[in-house]
């Protein structure tokens, strides 16, 4: 086996271990996102909730694709973009769009 093949094999072993931990924490992330989006829906000016939701979605986007969850990575990227746009003064994305994007992401997380 070549060095590159050995490297990739070892990395994939790590990926498999990390993937399981990602799955294990998915339920908590879904709960956290649901709570945060409830806060944002109730109080649109809750910047702390918006920031926390954006950060949580960002973390999912950062590893999902590497762990083999490409579609989830795309959903997380989209949700993050919506949340960031929602936070801008110009309000390029409505809260409803951001909420919908996050809901789609949590549905995908729930399937894990």
């Amino acid at each position: 086996m070549t060095d590159t093949a050995q490297f990739q094999r070892a990395f994939q072993t790590s990926v498999a271990e990390v993937r399981q931990r990602f799955i294990d924490r998915a339920a908590q992330q879904v709960q956290d996102l649901d709570d945060l989006m409830d806060r944002i829906e109730t109080r649109p000016d809750d910047r702390a909730a918006l920031e926390a939701a954006t950060h949580l979605v960002h973390k999912i986007a950062g590893v999902a694709t590497t762990l083999g969850f490409e579609h989830m990575g795309e959903l997380a990227n989209r949700a993050e973009s919506m949340l960031i746009a929602c936070a801008q003064p110009s309000g390029e994305a409505t809260r409803a769009q951001a909420l919908a994007a996050v809901e789609t992401l949590t549905e995908e997380l729930d399937r894990l």
């Binding site: 490297f7 070892a10 990395f11 990926v15 973390k59 950062g62 694709t65 590497t66």
Partner: protein
Amino acid sequence: MKILAVDDDDLALELLSSALRGAGYSDVTTATSGNEALDIVATTEKPFDAFLLDIRMPGIDGIELCEMLREMPRYASVPIVMITAMQERHFIDRAFAAGAMDYINKPFDPIELGVRIGIAERLSSQAHQVEESATEVALLKSRTGFGAEFKAEEPITIGDVARVISMTAMENYLLRLTYWMAIKSKSVVFSISGFRAIHAQCDPAEMYDILSDAAGAITDGLKYTNHLVTYVGDGQFVAVVNGPGSVLDAEILRSIQYEMDQSQPVLASGKSCPITLEMGEVYSPGLWSAPNRLNLLLCPQLTENRSTANAAGHRAAA
């Protein structure tokens, strides 16, 4: 190579550590926040040789952390690589302006990561040898009046001017731009007239000061634009600008020359050394040339037409 990887996501850190181990980098320390990273840096016995930083972290973000590390003399030129899911242009611009040497998007390819870290390690080692000749000279001169030389054509790093980055960093920055980011960018070269003659009569510390002052004047002239500048050797600086207000015209050159004229150097020999800057033609990538991002660095250097502030003023008045 001793590496510090900083990311607030423990899963991301584990993937990163695994990829680095596979690439042969086993001496990896991790931190989950900017504050923790600073504590580790302050207390480590053996300094770090490279940093991998996520951008989006609570508290001190990766770009702020990069700026703080660059202010530490020990880490002024070690490789700092941002590894992040943030792909928007302003993050890329801010990261390189803060002193990042490279920028890797998540999800990362582990093989590519290993290659890029290896390149950063090698280039940093080479660049450090050239920079040592510039900075050691400054120290030596203050004590003995003597120093080593760096060649006129050598693209040394001007490390003490904001938004002036190494050529390596500029190349990596340009390669990170998307096609549309490249289309919206422009570049131009600023040259020191008669540079070789000036270089021949200066000692290296004086030469470095002149280059640093020129870099400072250029970035001051461009302060209303989103810009990055690099020194490419032979008294030439390439500036890459983008965004609204990124006008590169005779007025900019006059502003830069005015700034230079405020502190024209006097050499140790007592001889004055007035510095005149020339500006080349502005390069804007076309639809077909934009795929080669490095044209933004290379094309302005190839243009023969240069103008000085005086000549540009006469043409504008005519």
